[in-house]
């Protein structure tokens, strides 16, 4: 570890900080977090790196990286343009799995069309935070989580179903569900501890298990990776049913091939269909069981309802009365799109046929306004309660 390079790194951070130190955030949590980053930087600038051991220098390097990451997340936050409606829906799902007060959501719109992701700035209980607390007495009680969305799809509620899958990855990584399950199942498979049906299902969804060209290590790596994808698909299906299947199927051209990172699309669709339809499937049983054990009794189960399409057909936003109805709006949109038979035209005495692009716009707008009205009404009601107290 070179002290000069570390000092260069710190100088770069000081320069980056000077551009962001006057940032004002409407969210007080972001403000506090930003303030804490500033405090931490202040302590770093007071240290003499030349007097520190190599290990201590390593810690400082990582601390500087941590501050940079935090600044990057906060500075990129584009809440003014990012649809808060999407954040609200994802927040509801996140709350089912992670304690509400542990995180701050920041958002970013990106140019890349595939940039759907959930990224934490740091893992929830990263040991680096213990170092920071021990050495500088700065305790970061909350974590930044960045939701990334392609700019072109920022108002597209058809494409944004992918974010539920990404949230699934986030939850999976936090709890290490697929990783643990993959190890356990692979071991049991190798040791012939599985039932006949379990073996059949395992070999169906992980077809390379029977391929002698792959070593056990390679197979285990694939299984871990693919279990992550299967978990995320089932996780998403809790909230949006089979919606993500429609999109994945289209984007991958119903791909029947397996890659290093992803199972075949056909297998992914089958797994989601089995989960939603309640079909017998050992892989789903394993996912359910592992999830429940690991997450202290949080369960993978259907968390959506079918909303009557009457409002949408009348070109009206739905009056959402509970947060658990929000993700169901995505389903409503997709089902209307997939089963469209001139319903808008018929229900509204339209003298002409709507173009598909207009229909797309209408459904997206109605979903957005339904969510937006819920947020507004909830805020309004809460504020009245505050006043009366």
């Amino acid at each position: 570890m070179n002290v000069q390079l570390l000092e260069l790194h710190l100088s770069q951070l000081i320069s980056a900080w000077s551009k962001s130190k006057l940032n004002i955030y409407s969210d007080s949590n972001k403000d506090s977090y930003h303030q804490q980053l500033g405090d931490l930087l202040h302590y770093l600038t007071k240290e003499d790196f030349s007097k520190l051991s190599i290990i201590d220098l390593e810690f400082r390097k990582r601390t500087i990286d941590f501050i940079f990451k935090g600044l990057e997340f906060l500075d990129k936050s584009t809440l003014n343009a990012f649809p808060i409606e999407i954040v609200e829906c994802l927040n509801v799902a996140l709350n089912d799995w992670i304690d509400n007060n542990d995180y701050i959501i920041v958002t970013s719109l990106n140019n890349s069309l595939s940039s759907f992701s959930f990224v934490p700035s740091l893992d929830f209980d990263d040991p680096l935070l213990l170092f920071i607390k021990t050495n500088y007495n700065v305790e970061f009680k909350k974590r930044l989580i960045q939701i990334n969305l392609p700019k072109s799809f920022s108002k597209d509620y058809f494409a944004n179903v992918v974010l539920y899958h990404e949230l699934g990855h986030f939850v999976d990584i936090k709890y290490k569900i697929s990783e643990a399950l993959a190890k356990v199942l692979f071991q049991d498979y190798k040791n012939n501890k599985l039932s006949a049906q379990e073996v059949i299902d395992l070999e169906l969804f992980f077809p390379y298990l029977t391929n002698p060209e792959y070593s056990d290590n390679a197979k285990l790596d694939f299984v871990k990776q693919h279990f992550g994808e299967y978990f995320s698909d089932v996780f998403a299906a809790q909230y949006i049913g089979k919606c993500s299947n429609y999109y994945i199927d289209y984007v991958t051209n119903s791909n029947s091939g397996t890659s290093v990172t992803h199972p075949s699309t056909l297998n992914r669709i089958k797994l989601v269909n089995d989960f939603v339809d309640g079909n017998k499937n050992s892989i789903i049983d394993c996912l359910l069981d592992a999830t429940q054990q690991i997450t202290n009794n949080r369960t993978l189960n259907k968390r959506y309802n079918h909303i009557n399409s009457k409002n949408f057909l009348q070109l009206l936003p739905v009056e959402v009365t509970h947060s658990n109805q929000l993700s169901s709006l995505y389903l409503l949109g997709w089902e209307l799109w997939q089963n469209y038979d001139l319903q808008f035209e018929k229900h509204n005495s339209m003298a002409y046929k709507l173009k598909a692009s207009k229909r797309y716009e209408i459904i997206n707008n109605l979903i957005e306004k339904s969510i937006s009205n819920y947020i507004i009404t909830e805020s309004w009601t809460k504020s009245k309660l505050n006043v009366s107290n």
């Binding site: 051991s53 290990i55 390593e58 810690f59 990582r62 990224v119 740091l122 893992d123 929830f124 209980d125 990263d126 040991p127 680096l128 213990l130 170092f131 021990t134 990855h169 990584i173 936090k174 709890y175 290490k176 990783e179 643990a180 190890k183 356990v184 790596d221 871990k224 990776q225 992550g228 990172t261 592992a290 054990q293 690991i294």
Partner: protein
């Protein structure tokens, strides 16, 4: 997943640095290290499973367990010697190239 690899790898590095500090006489992280090693011991003794060990340190626990399960079964965590901390640190450095992605 690139994220998964880099974040987990960093955690292993930092934990390794905690142990290095203990070896050098700094006890600031001893309690935390002991807590993690206890998880490894419980896994070795089968009083915990892969589903019940600490999730945050899962990668580190598995790495240590898989490298030397017998060691962790037998080690007395209340009285760890410097040499034993060295064994633990060496276990963390083993198989540094294993891949999550």
């Amino acid at each position: 997943m690139l994220y998964s690899y880099s974040v987990e790898d960093e955690k292993v590095q930092i934990f390794s640095m905690f142990i290095e500090n203990i070896i050098n006489g700094d006890d600031s992280y001893k309690a935390e290290v002991k807590r993690v090693l206890n998880e490894v011991k419980e896994l070795s003794l089968e009083s915990k499973t892969l589903f019940s060990i600490d999730r945050n340190y899962f990668t580190i626990i598995m790495k240590l367990f898989e490298s030397n399960p017998q060691f962790f079964k037998e080690v007395n965590l209340d009285d760890l010697k410097t040499a034993e901390y060295q064994v633990i640190e060496d276990s963390l450095k083993k198989n540094e190239n294993f891949i999550y992605a």
